[in-house]
């Protein structure tokens, strides 16, 4: 089981799911209609490290963060 958390303005409660790669997470999140406006502009972190590869393997207890567009300062 892994955990997916949604940061900043997305405003969605964390989800837990079975997933062996980030591609599995993508497939599951695309089923969530409230995320349809977000996924194409969100970056992804695995255990607080930015990731950029759908084949990234996941293990039990991993935490995936979804980061929407930013504007600090």
């Amino acid at each position: 089981m892994i955990k997916v958390e949604f940061l900043g303005p997305i405003g969605k409660a964390p989800m837990e799911m079975e997933a062996s790669t980030l591609a599995d997470v993508a497939t599951r999140l695309k089923e969530e209609s409230e995320l349809s406006a977000w996924l194409d502009k969100c970056a992804v972190a695995l255990n607080d490290t930015m990731v950029n590869d759908l084949t990234t393997k996941l293990k039990d207890g991993d935490r995936v963060s979804i980061l929407p567009p930013v504007c600090g300062g």
């Binding site: 940061l7 970056a43 930015m50 759908l54 600090g72």
Partner: protein, 144 residues
């Protein structure tokens, strides 16, 4: 890296940073201050920060600065920051001015693009995500 709830005490921070590096033999100290402007009838801006990734982002910049013989520092506000007060300050110290001038430019621009901070307008006490001014981080769209 310093995070504060509410507006920054700019004079205290810059004065302290100056004291911290007083004996470090840096020839240049270039500060940057971000101040909330009164526009579009906002009362304040408000900020969410995801600290673990912000810290890693900042640590990488400290390494880049160190390789150039320089130091970067930053402070940012969490929560509401009223107009005409500061939400963000940063600075570069370096032995000579050229490195500091170039580094503050690159550092502040990358900060705007990749620091995990989310901005909201505050109008009539309500927070509204500043979507039109926000930038997708590097690697966005991976899960789309």
């Amino acid at each position: 890296m310093e995070l504060y709830d509410g507006p920054l005490d700019v004079k205290e921070i810059f004065g302290r940073w100056l004291d911290e590096e007083a004996e470090s033999n840096y020839g240049a100290y270039i500060p940057f201050v971000g101040t909330i402007r009164a526009e579009d009838d906002i009362e304040a801006l408000s900020f969410d920060i995801y600290e673990p990734i912000l810290q890693k982002w900042f640590d990488e910049w400290q390494e880049k600065a160190k390789a150039l013989g320089a130091v970067v520092k930053m402070a940012h506000a969490r929560g509401d920051v009223p107009v005409h007060t500061s939400s963000y300050v940063s600075a570069v110290f370096s032995p000579k001015r050229r490195v500091a001038l170039e580094l503050i430019d690159a550092f502040v621009e990358d900060f705007k693009a990749n620091a995990p901070i989310w901005k909201y307008d505050v109008k009539n006490g309500k927070r509204i995500y500043a979507e039109d001014r926000s930038t997708p981080m590097d690697g966005s769209g991976l899960l789309a």
